[in-house]
Symmetry: C2
Subunit: 70 residues, 2 copies
């Protein structure tokens, strides 16, 4: 299993968290998504490593932005 | 036509605005709802005056609070 973390900016409430979870959760290969509103930390689990650009695009689709991906 | 205004606290984003609009819009007799995110101003239009408690309850159902109703 692979875990990747991202920092997302622009989320202000639980609705925002839900939007990000939903969009990222729909990405093929994603098996788990966690979002921490206070820090903007997005944790994505998958069986195999995923393309960062795909996750970034899903976050943008939800209306937010990935500002950091270590 | 009657227009009543309320100040709603706790809304932080467009999703919050949508939630309030949806809940208040479902109240019997409501013919129009406007919400200004920046000021929290909720404007409710109806053919006849509505019970303030009903609007207040709809806002709370959406997860927010009416802090002022002139």
């Amino acid at each position: 299993m692979t875990t990747a973390t991202y920092t997302v900016s622009g989320m202000t409430c639980g609705h925002c968290v839900s939007s990000v979870k939903e969009e990222v959760g729909e990405v093929t290969g994603v098996t788990g998504v966690e979002v921490d509103l206070a820090t903007g930390l997005l944790t994505v689990e998958s069986d195999n490593p995923l393309d960062t650009a795909t996750i970034r695009a899903a976050v943008e689709e939800a209306g937010y932005e990935v500002v950091d991906h270590p």
